[in-house]
Symmetry: C2
Subunit: 126 residues, 2 copies
DNA sequence: CGGCATCCGCATCGATACTG
DNA sequence: CAGTATCGATGCGGATGCCG
């Protein structure tokens, strides 16, 4: 998604599907959400978990999901700064969706992976 | 996709999630897939079901999903042309994912819809 | 540490016109 | 009917630098 951002929710069936997608599209959101399923993370912790995301994009995605009510951003007024991100109840309610996505990916990813799929299937949990 | 397009499947957990998302992101794909759950559709039938999609975008999204193996494009060599789109077995296997997305949307969409949610919840099936 | 501000290239997408 | 082709504007997203 990349970019619907609550455009117009008055579309036809698939509307709610589209609305849901709009919340988790954006290249990194679902990955971030997935990591947050395991618990609260700090900014740079997320960066380490998602190596290919730039700082700017990570900030953007986090802010959007915060605005969408999916995650909670807690700032500790101290030096050096400390900011923790965690799932809101709404974000936590996305767990079935994320798991459905992961399940599908796990069972079908080998159809796309060209490497000699011996270890390509091994999905490590951090 | 918005744009991952099978970039690199060697990322961390959420990898398969990301890969799955990359197949159905792109503003219209999930909506199209959702409509195709009900059966085969012709090009302009899809256009009518998804009013806001431009011809160009519809073609692009359909071509990408065809390349991803999610849908089947059947051309009837006749005049005027007739092209039918339907779900491949792989696309059909996305049904649980799509339903999970719709279920979440149906139960949470009212949190975002600002209209006096009396009829906003009514989801019509074409 | 966890940002924000700026510059800027480049992909995306809409609009329009044309075709088999 | 179901596209392809081309143009042009929008804005995403990377790189860099600065800040509290």
């Amino acid at each position: 998604m990349t970019k619907i951002r609550h455009s117009r929710l008055t579309c036809n069936p698939g509307c709610s599907v589209e609305a849901t997608i709009s919340l988790i599209d954006g290249k990194w959101k679902c990955v971030i959400l997935f990591h947050l399923l395991d618990g609260t993370l700090r900014f740079n912790e997320i960066r380490r978990q998602v190596p290919d995301v730039t700082q700017r994009m990570l900030t953007n995605q986090l802010r959007e999901m915060e605005a969408d009510g999916l995650i909670v951003r807690k700032v500790y007024p101290q030096v050096p700064p400390k900011v923790e991100y965690s799932l809101s109840p709404l974000g936590r309610s996305m767990e079935p969706v994320l798991l459905a996505l992961k399940l599908w990916g796990d069972t079908n990813i080998n159809l796309f992976a060209q490497p000699n799929s011996s270890d390509a299937i091994a999905l490590q949990v951090p």
